[in-house]
């Protein structure tokens, strides 16, 4: 067998993994890999303007496609710049492989130029990571990395490769399959547990299906819908779960939790059975844990056993892939001999109650014709794009919550947002990754004027790659979400949240060769959206919105979810 240098092994391995695009930024420690990629020519490389952008782009690509996102960066500062992106992907279980260059093995530990212990730094925020010291291990490590990144509960894996290893030679033998004795994620759920779950469902009078990102990741949306429709149960979703069940479906209660719908939170507080699927009872969902769902029995399906029994006591834990589990559960439900009419009847009273809550406080805002309301912009955006099968990414803050509340996501992988880590600056580079995966789809980043400035440099990347990403900036000249907390809980002392200077976003767009549009009056909203959405280049649409608008309902941190502040 022919011997290949490490750099060639990397490129060959990427091809075997079916990688068609890499997001990266070069430097001395990866110059050999770049040279090899360039000569090979079969893998597209997207040159970003900051390594954090590369990680978010790879992450967006992965979330939109379900494939593994790939990054390549240099040692030292290149590597440290990826940490936020890696942690973002880790918190939201996104499959990603990050290659970092490292100083030559002989220099490791010497505080060499651009040396950093990136494996040590990223240990707590990767699913696994490797420092490859021997070129003979390289192919196997890459195979393992891709397998670990996408199997079980997915997550980011980092591979640190010293410069000498990139040039040392070894036989290239890329295994087709792999078996790791210490890593065997459970995917097949236990039949007994499914039966037990069914018995709880049969007994319940007020069930709620509570779903999260796990349903999206395991492509279990059809099975989820089959279950929900058959047993006539209401469905509430976490931020990460939006789209897993159609937002326009009459059984959808919308998002729950801190900024969730009144109806979702009331249903959770009064339910006697929570059917949790691929969700993890995060504090933003439960509020004050002692007061959470006091009457409920809990069925919890998750591929990661550590998510089960972590925050709440569970009556029927089901470890396994959400899709597999739902398939089985649907089969048991249908096989029970109880007709859909039976279930309609069984929960009729419960639905009556839910509809009353829905009617009492739907997502709403005070309309005003003298100033642009952010919710209005999102409503219009929804109206004008709902038929176009778009992918919406968001930044973090109020912009993210208004999008979650007022845009109805009907299909999975159409809302792409940083839920777990809440990373400002995520949405725009993520949109770049999405647009790379789907050049012909409409991709819109909903942003705040704060967040967009965290990775605004990626406009150059989007222009260079001719990606017609649309950016909707809801400009309130505040770090709005923090300001909202200050308004409500800090006597309106706006410490460090009011921008004294906001750049001219239209001019910034134009400086990059992109298109810039601005609306300052309500009447302009629609025309700006229309023109912007139809544009075939990168386009910024800036909306000067009501400065002190809040996101409601809101459950104050640490309060019970029934203690909602309403509009």
């Amino acid at each position: 067998m022919a011997k290949l240098p490490g750099k060639k092994i990397i490129v060959e391995a990427l091809k075997r993994e079916g990688v068609d695009v890499i997001f990266g930024f070069p430097g001395g420690a990866v110059i050999d890999i770049y040279d090899t990629l360039e000569q090979d020519g079969s893998i597209k490389h997207v040159l970003v303007r900051h390594e954090q952008g590369a990680t978010h782009a790879a992450d967006g690509y992965a979330r939109a496609t379900g494939k593994v996102g790939v990054c390549l960066v240099t040692s030292g500062p290149g590597a440290t710049n990826t940490v936020t992106g890696i942690a973002t992907a880790y918190m939201d279980s996104v499959p990603m492989v990050v290659f970092t260059g490292q100083v030559p093995t002989a220099l490791i530990g010497n505080d060499a130029f651009q040396e950093v212990d990136i494996v040590g730094i990223t240990r707590p925020c990767t699913k696994h990571n490797y420092l490859v010291k021997d070129v003979k291990d390289l192919a196997r490590v890459i195979k393992e990395a891709f397998y670990i990144a996408k199997s079980g509960r997915p997550g980011p894996v980092l591979i640190d490769i010293p410069k000498d290893v990139q040039n040392a030679k070894a036989e290239f033998d890329y295994p087709d399959t792999i078996k790791l004795r210490s890593y065997n994620p459970v995917v097949a759920p236990h039949n007994k547990q499914i039966e037990r779950a069914y018995r709880l469902i049969e007994k319940s009078r007020r069930p709620v299906i509570y779903t999260g990102g796990g349903v999206v990741i395991s492509d279990a949306h059809n099975e989820l819908r089959a279950l929900a429709e058959y047993i006539n149960a209401p469905v509430t979703m976490t931020l990460m779960g939006l789209g897993a069940f159609p937002g326009t479906h009459e059984q959808s209660l919308g998002m729950l939790g801190m900024h969730g719908s009144y109806c979702s939170n009331m249903a959770m507080a009064n339910t006697d059975l929570i059917i949790a699927i691929g969700a993890r009872f995060d504090d933003r969902v439960t509020g004050k844990i002692e007061a959470f769902a006091p009457m409920a029995k809990i069925i919890h399906i998750d591929v990661d056993p550590t998510s089960i029994q972590k925050n709440v006591r569970v009556d029927v834990p089901i470890v396994g892939d959400c899709r597999e589990a739902l398939k089985k559960l649907v089969k048991v439900v249908k096989g029970s001999g109880l007709s859909p009419e039976f279930w309609q009847e069984k929960y009729a009273l419960w639905w009556e109650q839910i509809h009353a809550w829905e009617k009492r406080h739907p997502f709403a805002y005070k309309k005003d014709n003298s100033v642009i309301k952010p919710q209005y912009v999102i409503e219009k955006l929804y109206e004008m794009t709902r038929d176009k099968n778009p992918v919406i990414t968001t930044e973090v803050g109020q912009n993210q919550m208004w999008t979650a509340q007022f845009y109805k996501f009907d299909t999975p992988r159409t809302l792409i947002t940083s839920g777990g880590l809440g990373t400002m600056g995520y949405g725009f580079p993520a949109a770049i990754g999405v647009q790379m995966a789907f050049p012909d789809r409409l991709v819109v980043d909903v942003a705040g004027d704060g967040s967009i400035q965290m990775n605004i440099q990626e406009m150059a990347t989007a222009m260079e790659q001719r990606l017609p990403v649309k950016i909707v900036i809801l400009n309130n000249q505040f770090l709005g979400m923090v300001r909202q907390w200050q308004e409500l809980f800090y006597d309106r002392r706006y410490a460090a949240t009011s921008f004294q200077l906001t750049p001219d976003f239209v001019k910034i767009a134009e400086a990059y060769g992109a298109k810039g549009l601005r609306a300052t009056k309500v009447e302009e909203v629609e025309s700006v959206l229309k023109e912007g959405l139809e544009s075939d280049v990168l386009t910024v649409m800036e909306f000067a919105i009501a400065k002190e608008e809040g996101v409601f309902p809101m459950v104050p941190a640490g309060k019970a979810t029934t203690e909602m502040l309403l509009v």
């Binding site: 240990r123 210490s182 550590t306 972590k310």
Partner: protein, 161 residues
Amino acid sequence: MKHTLSVLVENCPGALSRITGLFSGRGFNIESLCVAPTLDPTLSHLTLVTRGDEFIIEQIIKQLNRLVDVYKVIDVSEGEFVEREMALIKVRAEDETRAEVLRMCDIFRCKVVDVSPKTYTVEVTGPESKLKAVIELLKPLGIKEISRTGTIAIVREKKTI
């Protein structure tokens, strides 16, 4: 409650720090930790003593199992088990106390492993409680230095067939 966990982990760089990092990162505590090779050179054996209610111990075990390098985790203290610790104690032994130290060693079945004109170094093995007792008794005589292992443990085999 105190729990003694037996963890088999891939013998590769970083594995130990993944485990200790997990404990510090999630706010679990490690009371003692002992690492040694096994008959299979590709695996290391770790004995870890920790504290927590059943909820926390369940999380710790699950979190350990989630690590890609961890092969197997057993809560040894769940059933019958034997545990041992060892200490080397350098104790002052001059004139009148020299005989006293030896007498103590005899009672506790300790071994003297090093002798100098002014000290004895005593090896003591047993459960933690025994080590504690020996140390308490030797203290008044003047302990110069102590070196201790962590706990190691093994599950008792069934007594019936």
